[in-house]
Subunit: 156 residues, 2 copies
DNA sequence: ATATAAGAGGACCGGATAAGTCCTGATACT
DNA sequence: AGTATCAGGACTTATCCGGTCCTCTTATAT
């Protein structure tokens, strides 16, 4: 399915909310504004802070703030921050011995190119791009309520 | 991680082997040639046959044959055949009600564009491309033995 | 006609991995 | 000093994938 984790989805939601609010916002506040469960929001924010996509302010009146504007934030970075580096797990945890037995492992390094293509595609889209697109679509659905999985069916 | 399933990896190996052998090959034969466990090869072949990427011949002296040359087989199709349509599972099994509660779901349809970008990237690479690349790399590693996960580290 | 080789199609079990929750500690504002 | 907030980890649960096996159908060969 080539799917990315739900956490990544949440991360985008959270980041967009941060951009919308503008100033410093607390985790509970963002949870309230986005309907994402609060512990999950906190988790996501910690991860994003650890990777530098948001900056944190501790103490009373603390919270989180975007480190960069959405326009300077490629999706690839968000995915990499939450799910780890973008990689199509090919050839992992396979003992080299098992491979040498064959005349020539027909897979060595094959996926690098594919991986690179995906990486570039994701690097070229910023969160601002994603937000902009929905604005255009808002016309055909007043209260959109996440598209069920029309996305999936029409994907390919 | 944006990872694709191991089955997809196997599918590519199997398809390449099919192309290499040329004629009709049986599942056990391919398993033997690729070191992929036989039941798994059989499973992959069934899936590929069901989606028309390979054609099957039943009965004694039966086996599998490539339906198309590798050059006409984009990676996207293989992935779609094995893992299902390419989709970044966003907005799945979330009750619409929970979403309407919010002022406006900031996620509706957001991932479509990203999804499309990936789809295009994968549609542009054929299995022949993947095979060709490795041929070029064969020089720097005599018996390659699948690159561990250098792939992952360097990915982003 | 019968035996045999091969694929078709499903059911099943086990293991890995993500999702989500909670707890404890550190820090800074009031 | 007190309180609000983030930091960081541990833990539980659930889901999904990987892998195996069994049975049925089909077609060739003897």
């Amino acid at each position: 399915m080539l799917r990315l984790s739900k956490l990544t989805d949440y991360a985008v939601v959270v980041l967009v909310q941060l951009a919308r609010g503008g100033a410093v916002q607390t985790a509970p506040g963002i949870a309230c504004a986005t309907a994402v469960p609060e512990p999950t929001v906190a988790k996501v924010l910690k991860i994003l802070a650890a990777t530098g996509l948001v900056t944190s302010l501790r103490g009373a009146r603390g919270g989180y703030r975007l480190a960069r504007p959405l326009a300077a934030l490629p999706v690839a970075e968000v995915i990499a921050a939450v799910d780890g580096p973008i990689a199509l797990t090919a050839c992992v945890d396979v003992s080299p011995v098992a491979c040498e037995q064959q005349r020539s492992c027909p897979m060595s390094g094959r996926w690098l190119r594919v991986n690179e293509a995906i990486r570039e595609a994701l690097a070229g889209i910023t969160l601002a791009d994603m937000v902009g697109e929905t604005g255009a679509e808002a016309a055909r659905a007043a209260h959109p309520a996440r598209l069920p999985q029309m996305t999936i069916e029409e994907a390919l």
